[in-house]
Symmetry: D2
Subunit: 387 residues, 4 copies
Amino acid sequence: MKKEIRIGLIGCGFMGRTHSNGYRRVPNFFPELVYQPVLKAVCARSREKVTAFAQQWGYESFETDWKLLIKRDDIDAIDICTPNNMHAEIAIAAAEAGKMILCEKPLARTLAEAQLMVDAVDKAKVKNTVWYNYRRLPAVTLAKKIVDTGKLGKIFHYRSNFLQDWTINENLPQGGSVFWRMDADAAGSGVTGDLLAHCIDTAMWLNGGIRDVSAVTETFVKQRLHEDTGKLQDVKIDDACIFHCHFENGSLGLFESTRFARGHKALYTFEINGEKGSLRWDLHDLNRLEYFNNEDDAATRGWRSIHVTDGDQPYMNKWWVPGLSIGYEHSFVHQVADFLKSLESGEACAPTFQDAFETQKVCEAVLNSASSKKWQTTDVNWKTHAG
Amino acid sequence: MKKEIRIGLIGCGFMGRTHSNGYRRVPNFFPELVYQPVLKAVCARSREKVTAFAQQWGYESFETDWKLLIKRDDIDAIDICTPNNMHAEIAIAAAEAGKMILCEKPLARTLAEAQLMVDAVDKAKVKNTVWYNYRRLPAVTLAKKIVDTGKLGKIFHYRSNFLQDWTINENLPQGGSVFWRMDADAAGSGVTGDLLAHCIDTAMWLNGGIRDVSAVTETFVKQRLHEDTGKLQDVKIDDACIFHCHFENGSLGLFESTRFARGHKALYTFEINGEKGSLRWDLHDLNRLEYFNNEDDAATRGWRSIHVTDGDQPYMNKWWVPGLSIGYEHSFVHQVADFLKSLESGEACAPTFQDAFETQKVCEAVLNSASSKKWQTTDVNWKTHAG
Amino acid sequence: MKKEIRIGLIGCGFMGRTHSNGYRRVPNFFPELVYQPVLKAVCARSREKVTAFAQQWGYESFETDWKLLIKRDDIDAIDICTPNNMHAEIAIAAAEAGKMILCEKPLARTLAEAQLMVDAVDKAKVKNTVWYNYRRLPAVTLAKKIVDTGKLGKIFHYRSNFLQDWTINENLPQGGSVFWRMDADAAGSGVTGDLLAHCIDTAMWLNGGIRDVSAVTETFVKQRLHEDTGKLQDVKIDDACIFHCHFENGSLGLFESTRFARGHKALYTFEINGEKGSLRWDLHDLNRLEYFNNEDDAATRGWRSIHVTDGDQPYMNKWWVPGLSIGYEHSFVHQVADFLKSLESGEACAPTFQDAFETQKVCEAVLNSASSKKWQTTDVNWKTHAG
Amino acid sequence: MKKEIRIGLIGCGFMGRTHSNGYRRVPNFFPELVYQPVLKAVCARSREKVTAFAQQWGYESFETDWKLLIKRDDIDAIDICTPNNMHAEIAIAAAEAGKMILCEKPLARTLAEAQLMVDAVDKAKVKNTVWYNYRRLPAVTLAKKIVDTGKLGKIFHYRSNFLQDWTINENLPQGGSVFWRMDADAAGSGVTGDLLAHCIDTAMWLNGGIRDVSAVTETFVKQRLHEDTGKLQDVKIDDACIFHCHFENGSLGLFESTRFARGHKALYTFEINGEKGSLRWDLHDLNRLEYFNNEDDAATRGWRSIHVTDGDQPYMNKWWVPGLSIGYEHSFVHQVADFLKSLESGEACAPTFQDAFETQKVCEAVLNSASSKKWQTTDVNWKTHAG
């Protein structure tokens, strides 16, 4: 007997599209799930935009005021795809209204905001999850499986970066509905919350808690036109951020993110080096995982390029046949599916608000370290809060 | 004003899934199209299978007899996803019933069958297209655009292969609903019709007609259990096929396909070498096109690895943002979209039955060359029959 | 107690340089060898060239007439680096004079010439070897070791190509001392003897005899200025050659060579696919061997990129430390070392004239097949004639 | 008229071999140079080792006391290949004796030692250079040429790492003649002086001075048997070192080095990102340089993989033909050739002691930052002291 989960989506930008696609694909590719999503309503301030979006994605209805959406009885789960400055207010209200919450990352602009959100879902005891979608790419999930077997042995190094080049043009503005990621008020931070947060979530999932950090940030373009004011204003976000750190397990970490690395569009990579083996991955070629197994015969040992498309790989029995690639968007489909499965099992769906709060601690420590030019401890208590 | 194209799909195997997904994605990603598909009915012999399939993919109804499907007034277009031995009979009947036809490749088992199909659509003047889907991957479409600019200059070489390894296991059977590709009665041929047909379609699209061929085939496993008879029977398909050829433009061609190349799942590649530049592509990394431009400055000349994901690349403004990959399945979405656009424009939708018939000529010449051990002319008259 | 092998080198072009470098490096990197080369004399027709060459490479003396060189008592071994049209005459004379012979590949222009050369060394019982140098690159030698263990299982496919682009320019001449490779009288053939001969030597070394072939050749530029006559003359060499074949072990082979593949300088590659594993290699990245081992755990199976630089890899204990690359020229150093070792052991040094004669049979069958447009048997009796 | 430079080499370990090979290759590959090296004497404490080495490499004589070597009138240049703890004493004595000095990197164990060395050569006005050999690999030299044209525009990022895995085994000792790099007394530091010094030299050559640094180091194996004492002793070197920094030009830098990155043998890479273009390079594939030119046409823009082997590339007209790789050792041959050329021109040969002293400042600041856990300024005054 199928059960409906009635979704109310807030925000119809880029993430609104990726999530909507996630919901729409699940019935076709995960038909066995007991819980299936229903696109009940979408909400955005612009009536024109929201009606077009509802039409395109097949939402049954729409709202232009998110508070009305949250009040509706026919909505089970609120999906938050707004700019970051709205996450906390909406999430807290949704929790109080007893809704399940799926919140786009980063959880919040600041640790303080994030704390309020965690408190709200804890108090309301509502199901919650955060869209750190990259965990659900099959190659990344395979990395997790390999790490968890202990095949890599004691870990010495973890490194990760997320390199883009889309804001090099100094004529790009900040603010407004398109460029809010460049506006510190809306976004909280620049690449730290936008890109490094992904790197940190994956890193702690694979390699455990980050203990302390030493960071540097840079804003290469000092002033940009603000779309809301029409004036040239100081840019307060970080265009680039680098940090090194210690993990709880004694390994050294190294992270870098920027929007000023010419030639890289979305070069999200990670690498982990252990005593017995190493792994590395690159979002630009997301179906591949590279694995070095030091226990292979010495003469024929080398980095293995695993094309993670066989049916026995994570999620891949749902898709096509060996050798045929899936893409970026599939990470969201998998996240929806895992969320729905968690409703069956009653377990939490990682990363929860609490998990994302731990990631937020690292982001905050990073930004603090960059401004203070000192090492910062994170007080991370990494222990995934999902089953 | 939107118009519906009511689809009747026959066959619910692997290709039934890829096509259904194509239809379902179009309204979300190509909402501007006047014609939009409606999944009216799916047909398969097994009532159990077809009802599950209809449920999973959202078909409004189902049939277990394709003849009944074709008779229905509420169907505009018949999509043929059956084993190859049913293509001709269904297509001819559909044409006679005045239906549009979208036929899975290869068009037919033999050139004679294909001829009857072309005659039928010509006579009935019904819209027709064949699912040589790889043309619609953005990197492949970009290759076509580059070739058409003349940037490569006079062409000297074209090479392509399609390497798999899934039939090395000699205990794999032939026949039945799963392994019909191993049964010459159902499939017509082995890798020639299944894999090389793709290579040939892309090759003639990019580089023009193939004039003559010299081929060799091999069947490594001589006998396999037949699922229909329960007996060990001679394998009559080609496990591997290699041929070289002349193109009309004077370039040399080289093609290879096999299901016995250990380590390759779906290594479909092509490369074209011209006086001024070269291109190469690989399905395993389908978002990339490699381009060598001999007119670049000598000191910094090298193969460019183009990650074909920017919004100004073919089809990519419909998807995500630069750097974010799409997958195999998107080729089918694009083909549906192009088919629907062709209804607006009134132009043919390449490759048409006639185009696929020309590809079939090459396949037949290849098989004849392999059995006769002689060069064969193809009589190809390559001129895409779409606008 | 060290023993000297006094070398007399004939020809001071490109190959004269690679061989001379081979001799000069051996004392530094293989000091343990009992036999050590002494650069006794170099011979070329131009006194100016030969004296400069002797000076540069440290030859003790020079000759301008090879017949005089062969008569000298102070020469133990004749190294033939002339254009191909001189190989037979010199080798036969050298054999008659009782000299050891190291002959650059291909052995001869034609099978008939090659036969005379084999007869001569057989009759004279002189040590002989042919410079198919690529066997001695560590990654290629490692491939041989892996094949010989049987780790690949039954072989299904072998493919190899050698792609260049240096003769696309139609103003390049033929003939003379620089462009003799473009002149059929001097070279015997074009890419078949120059490039495919390498591919064939490696192929038969790794995968055994080639039984029959079907080939096509092309000459893209029909006439070029001849340096000797100053006139525009028909080009009689093959600019490109493709063939497929059967190996004795039942596997299918596929070979291609051209000087018209824009963007490729010396793309010599091979790949071998067996039931249990596959290997591939590329001269452009010559320190790497790729290996797919189907017996690896399914979830982590992938092509291994082996950087063949560890001290336990073939020849590598002679060079630097792990990770540090060697280059093209080292193949010649290794060949010299192996030749000198064979003097100690008394074994033949592969490939011998007889081995190269078998390769010549395939070349000749390929050219005959191309001109006759028919399959040709090779009559190869592959059995390396070295210990 | 040729002139001799009589070399006296001290130390016959790994670097003694690479330098000796450099000297021996120059006459064959750079015969046009007026100054040519003569291997006059080699010096090492062990008579057995030094005589074998002299024999192998063709040194005319040997010494077992470096002070005697320096006194010899028949020596023009002293090449220092000892462990780092001997650099200063030998260099100062050699300068006082009026010898030219070629010193292996890093210049010294500490900045204080390095200062004394710079003072000594300044006072004595003797020719001096330091073996930061990687600058002379053609792909790296090409990177310098591209940077110097301004083609990359304003620089935003520089990143570099040098990853190895050879000391993971905790049973590896420290000290002695083989493992002196693990002994802080002999080496000064661990990966910082051994590996990062290379990265820093190349970085400042390409991107200018490093202003300040923030670093972290780690020693994963806390105690190792000391070969000299036979006792388990604390390991005082850094097994790993990471730092970020600001360059004078405002770009951010990121450096990492370790001997605990399983699967990497000598993964020395750098990448530089500018407004208009980017470059990256990897020692494992040392003949390639990757270049992204943002001014290429948008549709066909991609990272170019330049196989730096054409004759018009740096140094490559001395070697073979396009497509044929050279190796690690060639960097030393080129450094010898450039040193000899600088004798003709009278210019300094970069990097000079003064240049290497600036690199030493960064190394020292890095180690100080790691121990103090604070940012450190470097006081680098980067201005190459060679013409």
